[in-house]
Subunit: 338 residues, 2 copies
């Protein structure tokens, strides 16, 4: 198992990325290919006395920034760390890619260098929402287009992902909506609900409303990328709101500070639970090989977890299962049409 890590992208690149990748090697035994400026990487390794055991370095000549137009990944910045990482994965030089870079560029690079899975209309970014239990929200922002068939494909891919990654036997799949009735929502959502009810092999439990999200009523939340992105960021915002509010409650006076000591252990457990870095990153689903998009602000721990997540993503054969499911569905649709 070899994970290809884009060492140059992200707010804390390259130091935190390299540290995280080396830590993943030590903890999980996966081989690592670091893609980036060889000189810089070697310097970081030396300065932080990091072991190069199981670490391969592949040189790149540029970096895609957050401001770059995503299409540069296959045009002016073909020699960037991100573009080279995808090319290595395409050429069989590794099993998965981890990048904390520009989301649009990851999506464009993965779709154009790795290609989408046959039959998949749109790739989706699946984000783990860490509340009482992990839930996969997809699409969480890959595209704002919104067709019933895309939503159906997100449901199929999310179901397969959660069964394999978290070992949930029969993950519950729900469609976010503005009401639980099947007639609720925009035209696309009404049609998507109907499609999902008639999709075999996913455990579709129907529409859920916004208030059901924090209750953990399902394992997979299906949304278009516009709505999904707003939900994901609202959840992140509430995480910060909650930390801020608890801090305000406890810092008031000596009594409340004593109170804080009494519950410190539980507060810490809650913070760990709400910490998205615990889950590493967001899988890109629908492309022909495993890609994990780590958060732009990832630190070493987040990268370590993202590398681990990428190795499980590759190991469990999720991509192959999606390919097979798409082939089976195509065959069934063709037979039904005859």
């Amino acid at each position: 198992m070899r994970i290809i890590v884009d060492a140059m992208s992200g707010d804390n690149a390259p130091v935190e990325i390299i540290k995280g990748a080396v830590a993943a090697r030590a903890e999980y035994g996966v081989d690592i290919t670091l893609v980036g400026d060889t000189e810089i990487i070697n310097k970081v390794m030396a300065e932080n006395t990091l072991s190069d055991d199981g670490i391969k370095i592949v040189n790149s000549e540029s970096v895609i920034t957050m401001e770059d137009n995503p299409i540069c990944v296959v045009k002016s910045k073909k020699n960037s760390s991100m573009a080279i990482a995808f090319s290595l994965l395409r050429d069989g030089e590794g099993d998965a890619v981890v990048s904390a870079g520009n989301t649009g560029a990851i999506l464009t690079g993965a779709s154009l260098i790795l290609k989408k899975i046959k039959g998949i209309k749109r790739a989706a970014i699946g984000a783990i929402i860490p509340l009482d239990k992990p839930m996969l929200l997809l699409d969480s922002g890959a595209n704002t287009d919104n067709q019933p068939e895309y939503l159906q494909q997100f449901a199929i891919m999310g179901y397969i992902y959660m069964r394999n990654i978290f070992g949930i036997k029969d993950p519950k799949v729900a469609l976010i909506n503005n009401g639980s009735e099947t007639t609720k929502g925009t035209e696309a959502y009404v049609l998507a609900n109907e499609l999902l009810r008639n999709t075999e092999g996913i455990n579709f439990i129907g529409n859920i409303e916004g208030r059901d999200v924090p209750s953990g009523v399902c394992d997979v939340i299906v949304a278009d990328g516009f709505t999904g992105n707003i939900i994901l960021k609202l959840c992140e915002g509430f995480g910060s709101y909650m930390s801020r509010t608890l801090k305000n409650i406890f810092k008031q006076n000596i009594m409340t500070k004593i109170g804080a000591l009494m519950v410190m252990r539980n507060i810490k457990a809650l913070k760990k639970q709400l910490d998205h870095t615990e889950y590493g990153g967001a899988p890109l689903l629908g492309v022909s090989a495993p890609v994990i998009k780590a958060h732009g602000s990832s630190n070493a721990k987040a990268i370590k977890n993202a590398v681990h997540q990428a190795s499980v993503f590759a190991e469990t054969g999720i991509t192959q299962e999606i390919i097979k499911t798409m082939e089976k569905n195509k065959k069934q649709t063709a037979e039904a049409a005859e």
Copy 2:
């Protein structure tokens, strides 16, 4: 000032509705018209020894349930408490309506009995999100249609509402989106952003993302009804999640219970802040007279606050200001076209 209260609609009707209306009379001195089954209302008043000072009762013969098709308000249930309340308001027999009934029926009844304001394409339900400070989210679920011009009108109405109700000098208006850049979002949102940037007399601060909602960066959040409804209910869900989580933290053992005592006062203040019943209800904006939709689960306190909110809504002349603004905008558009 006379507020017409639909006494028969809502989960806790008629007892809590009547109690709340009578309490509002006592606290704010507004006259009240209770619409409902006279016999039942009189019985509730007697059983709870409620004062009938300033209270008028108008009889109705049926109730619209949550399961009823909204259109019944102008068809089979014209003699319902809700339909009669709207008719009284239309005929000048009061200054505003409060109802905790079926949202679809309130919307249909208000649009067809009271009529929409000239030039307004869609009425919107504005919901107060009670976090660090009150923010008005609209549309929070009146309709799932989604046109740039509707979003522009929601912005104008929301701005006028917040300036009058909360006395904010120049309310900040933001468009929810999946990114802060003007090019972000669906086609309708990209066009809406452009329209809003060119709308005079509203303090448009641009797009905001989901994570900005709990930070209170603005006073008015503009959204289509589908997205707005998901945001509103997600906020409600997080309120419950937070209460549940705090309870779990504090109930663990004797030490954490002592800790709870130390911060009880602050927790209570937080609960009050997050309590949507403090704000009474959601204004229906874009119809020709003030209507407040109280939460279906409203208790007496929520109804009391909703009645007060309705009286301020009527008193400040928000509806007249929206009418004037629409006339002015129409004139300007006509002049620009010449």
